[in-house]
Symmetry: C2
Subunit: 326 residues, 2 copies
Amino acid sequence: MKKFMNNVDDLLAESLDGFADAHSDIVTLGDDRKFVRRAALSPGKVALISGGGTGHEPLHAGLIGHGMLDAACPGQVFTSPTPDQMLAAAEAVDDGTGILFIVKNYEGDVMNFEMAAEMSDREIMTVITNDDVAVETSTFSTGRRGVAGTLVVEKIVGAAAEAGRSLADLKVLGDRVNAATRSMGVALTSCTVPAAGTPTFTLADDEMEMGVGIHGEPGRRRVPLEPVDAIAEEMVPAITAELPGVDVLLFVNGFGGTPLMELYLMYHAARASLEERGFRIHRSLVGNFVTSLEMAGCSITATSLDDEMTGLWDAPVHTPALRWGM
Amino acid sequence: MKKFMNNVDDLLAESLDGFADAHSDIVTLGDDRKFVRRAALSPGKVALISGGGTGHEPLHAGLIGHGMLDAACPGQVFTSPTPDQMLAAAEAVDDGTGILFIVKNYEGDVMNFEMAAEMSDREIMTVITNDDVAVETSTFSTGRRGVAGTLVVEKIVGAAAEAGRSLADLKVLGDRVNAATRSMGVALTSCTVPAAGTPTFTLADDEMEMGVGIHGEPGRRRVPLEPVDAIAEEMVPAITAELPGVDVLLFVNGFGGTPLMELYLMYHAARASLEERGFRIHRSLVGNFVTSLEMAGCSITATSLDDEMTGLWDAPVHTPALRWGM
């Protein structure tokens, strides 16, 4: 295992300290590093809190800031945060207007966020994302997994929260965006969890894992590596099967180890495949946003946008990882 | 070799087409894909043109837009663009106000940009970046190599160009920023050039290449992998040896295959090392900006900022890869 670190036990703490120092204009660390939150809060606004295992950076802490999240709770690598983290974050960022949890559909995450909501006196609602159409149930999830589409939910709901919408409204909107969003991933290599020290899985030199999860969970099948056009041709029908509309946000997300050049190649192939099927590419996002440590591979996400969702996607955002309009 | 592509010959064209489609609000492709340029030009402004081999994305095309470059000329992977590309870009973006070439110090790049400047009737000046202190001469360069610090030059000079400064002023400023900037890199793995199909170099499981170049060129020495604090402790003295001031921009740049989590760890270590030496971290940037395909590793760049340079660094920028203030 070759990684930049001092030792496995200090990995998360030192990385969080670096993150908070590098972005001190936007974020600040909570006590005991239980959460990262906006340095400046907006009173009278519903607070958006997300979180999950570390290893998917910049998700979620890199999406804290104006127009997106108010706080994020980082667990150890690929491990759910604990309920006391969400409770501490809730105390820090909610002024009584209410809290929306945005949670990727993994059993540990769902259980711990749910426990925090039950333990808290505050008004809390939860949106669970499950955009990954690759498999129906998986290693860590009952039902579909929440993957890169979570960023789309956080962006659109974040803009609506900034505009002063009510907690109940945001819950409905978040569920609607999630329902309009589908993703699927493909891996060319495994990642290595630092505490494990060896690759999570192995692929032969000519194999890829079609439908891989963002923790290296198995996908649909292990198949020979194909040209990128053929890969896109397999993934696009899967993610568009039940999309509610033809104007889409196309989001090609790198898993961490794939060069940007190849992500734009995949974008090119996915776009062509979508357009052949009558979809119109209304908005685009390409980059490493929901990663699996250093895994080589990517996911394709499509969200059917209506006018309201497009306006909220375009709204100003100022986070470490996503910025526009301000 | 596992890469997302159709075939090696179409790699660059398809990736550029994807890039231009994904960012059509900011950039447009020139004829025959000779260059990428801003979709909307600013009349009366000196045009900034850069370029170089592909494989370092988002540098340079991802840094086109308000406040940075006007055009970039992409060569094949790790191969210089040809003079006709720079000539075509110059015709497309210069309205007669003048052109500044920003060129990383590699023999092919310097020669081809120089040839273009000689062949053109336009007023052209050139800033050559050579921020890499690892080695004095290298595989592709006479004198120090130009690496991640090139982004700092492009950002600061780009803001000054946007503010209407003259070509002669920008040339002086660019040379001054370059002289105030030092970088050094370290690799944990090699990259694989698609046309070669095999890794550029090999490192044992417990080795790193200290001082590696952004094409996988040899650095100072091959040494056993060390804790990140020890790596930072070796690199920071090298880059700060002759820095002109103690208020610095600290830029930790990923080479493509290293997770963001580890880059923030390196930032944390480098920051501590700089502060121990009396430097103050005035501004920060962390991410994959000047990459070497999928190489695992990173570079540390420090630029001594004065008030003028700080103001220009903070000025609004709107490119595919770097955005703030607008």
